[in-house]
Symmetry: C2
DNA sequence: CTTGACCTTGCCATGATGGGAAGCCCTATC
DNA sequence: GATAGGGCTTCCCATCATGGCAAGGTCAAG
């Protein structure tokens, strides 16, 4: 099977197949006399594994570890599980970051009239020194003593 | 104010300040006789604006638009709001992607014993052909007519 | 004047991916 | 057998935002 067929069969672009080979994620492919890379069903299976892992948000290093465990018949499933759960934690940490951004922005947008006037708490906030939008802060009372 | 001070005051690294200048996000800084960049409070404020926007997950293009609106005194707040809400949508779309990955992985991990045996549904799933773990699909009936 | 901290520019690297060029190979069709 | 079109090869470049490093100029304090 040439690289084009392997690409279609695995869902990994030919470009990425060559890249994975270069990075050692897959062994160097066999070559035909004319230098074309030749793939077996087994190779394609490995590529599919990589694609599935990538779809789950793993990156090269994580995929490398998964592949190592995959081909290690004396592995302990606890190792795989730990890798997976660690990754779930990373994903969830990232989600929390995004949630925080989205919440902040949504709150600001809720305070924005969204009409044809220029006044906008979103820009006002971005242009401000501090970090938070506007806590309770009853805008400047008479005596700034307790500020 | 030299770039170091501006960096500290804005929370943007000197490296990034130069990069933003090169990319046109901020105007070319004034220069001292010896070629050092010189910043005013106003410049620092613009840098802080950029940093805050970046912290909210905007990238250069979005920041560029926000900056344009920021310095456009005839802007309509509706434009700003639209930008903000569009970005909230992008953030939430990304969160949904991550959620889906995490859920899939969590489900697989839940099915994994996590002991010292090698059997592991996580690896088994990654090594599989199809995308989902196991739909109903009663594998190959007698007549593939209707396939 | 020396030292050390700061600034300058320029180049390189990241991670995963795509684009494109120049050139070779294979197959089908005439 | 020649030609056309598509697939393959390698190599280089670009992304986006960021950091690192190196060589050299500048400044302030001692």
């Amino acid at each position: 099977m040439n690289i084009g067929q392997a690409s279609k069969a695995s869902g990994v672009s030919a470009k990425m197949i060559r890249y994975y080979e270069q990075e050692g994620l897959i062994p160097p492919a066999a070559r035909s006399l004319s230098g074309y890379r030749a793939y077996t069903e087994q190779d394609v299976q490995r590529l599919r594994f990589i694609r599935r892992a990538r779809d789950l948000g793993f990156q090269m290093d994580g995929i490398r570890e998964l592949l190592a465990l995959w081909s290690d018949r004396s592995r302990h499933s606890s190792e795989v599980k730990r890798l997976a759960l660690d990754h779930v934690e990373r994903l969830e940490a990232r989600m929390r970051e995004l949630r925080s951004m989205a919440d902040t922005l949504r709150t600001l947008a809720d305070c924005c009239a969204g009409d044809d006037r220029p006044d906008c708490p979103i820009l006002a906030d971005l242009g401000q020194d501090g970090t938070p939008p506007a806590p309770p802060s009853p805008p400047r009372l008479r005596s700034p003593r307790a500020a």
